[in-house]
Subunit: 270 residues, 2 copies
């Protein structure tokens, strides 16, 4: 039972909120029941779980802890004040795990059920962890083959990314890579590239999204860079009927992904 706020393991865990500490150690934190469950269900390696039953919100935490132990994790009980220090969230759930960062490469292109053309989401230079997490949650829902995070400007292992993703950071096949690398990968695999930009003439619903496809969205501040727009097979815009001229990037991503889903599943209206 860890009861000291000065315990070196506790201090090391708290430091992982900071990107430099994550980069230096190659570790990160998984906070919360849903997030840890998603990690375990996807066989993500867990090193240590700090837990504190006084903070548990539900009734399945003990079972999840047992699954972590069975998978090789070390379980460390803490007192409520120590857990309060480790937890990043306002309402802690009594579970924070420490895990090694696992980075995927384009060598493994992501799962694709037989007979289904692949669907990739390209997200270029996303800045806000919350947007990145929401994008991953939407990508999970739309059943994408993989998310290609190109020239990333926030790390996948930021606590706010993991929280907004509600753990889909562990279920969605996500590759961090350079834009040039991603474009070469898509071209090599015969994947049609549709780039979203407010300056396009074609409405997104008029683009053919039925075959092997990648849809690309760009950073919050600048949108997609010209390298992506120039390389695209088609550029599309989402029509805007109000006063502002762009959508939130996560909103744009899910509109495009579900249009692809609609066309592929032939879910046409009544």
């Amino acid at each position: 039972m860890i009861s000291s706020l000065q315990n070196p393991k506790v201090k090391a865990a708290v430091r992982l909120r900071d990107r430099r500490a994550r980069d230096r150690t190659g570790q990160f934190l998984i906070e919360g029941y849903r997030e840890l469950l998603r990690a375990v269900e996807n066989c993500y390696p867990i090193e240590t779980v700090f837990y504190c039953p006084e903070w548990f919100q539900g009734r399945n935490e003990s079972e999840l802890l047992e699954r972590c132990r069975a998978a090789g994790a070390r379980l460390l009980a803490t007192t409520p004040p120590v857990f309060r220090k480790i937890a990043y969230r306002d309402r802690p759930e009594g579970l924070v795990a420490l895990a090694p960062q696992r980075h995927r490469t384009l060598d493994a292109p992501g799962p694709c059920p037989a007979g289904t053309p692949p669907l990739y989401l390209v997200a270029e230079s996303i800045e806000k962890p919350g947007n990145l997490g929401t994008i991953l949650r939407s990508a999970d829902a739309a059943g994408v083959t993989a998310v290609l995070l190109c020239d990333p400007r926030t790390d996948l292992f930021n606590p706010n990314t993991i929280r907004a993703s509600i753990g889909t950071v562990f279920s969605v096949h996500t590759v961090e890579c350079a834009s040039a690398e991603a474009r070469a990968f898509l071209a090599r695999n015969g994947v049609r590239l549709i780039a979203a930009t407010p300056h396009a003439d074609m409405t997104y619903t008029r683009a053919n999204m039925r075959g092997p496809l990648a849809v690309a969205v760009g950073s919050e501040q600048y949108g997609l860079s010209t390298q992506w727009i120039d390389a695209a097979d088609a550029t599309v815009q989402i029509p805007m009927f109000g006063q502002v001229d762009s959508l939130n990037v996560a909103a744009a991503a899910i509109v495009l992904l579900y249009e692809a889903v609609r066309q592929r599943r032939a879910m046409a209206g009544p």
Copy 2:
């Protein structure tokens, strides 16, 4: 020029980050160039603008300040440290305005161009200011008639709502009301109600969204309450192909809104 961090006007402004102070005074803060511009362009009353040219990010701030002054606002210059104290954001933009909260009621049903059937978004008990702001930004883009914030659990004037909305909190006709009131309003006006819930059988793209319509989404944690589901003319689900069983509420809202836009504008794909 305000140069004291202890200036009572400065201290009163800082207190408005807190909901209790907003509720007590009926005031709130508008931070940032885009947000203040959107307020001014929608003739939102501004009482005071704190400004600090050393923090300006662009070149149009002075012109915007003149528009505020012409509209009756008092302009107060501050030193950079004082502005740093007033600003809520990590990267201040040199503009923070103080304004009275304006609450709309269902008596004014929102603008609706002649010949266009109204489109309402019902958002029940949203908890997170960032989600609410993103919902308003999407509602602006989709050209909704009004957003009905039913039984709200976060206030429209939270700094994170205004930021995520990028000022569309001033362009979108938004009404805070009780759910029962909103349902009576919709029924009285012959508006078809479509409720989104993961438990529905019908895929959202199969619902007829062409006439006078309200689409309803529920809180982050619980979704729509049964009072909305029972009152709906149709319930729909957004198909999920991944491991998690729900979308972020702002993501669900924009998928539904743009399906309504697609059906209404006959933007059907090739």
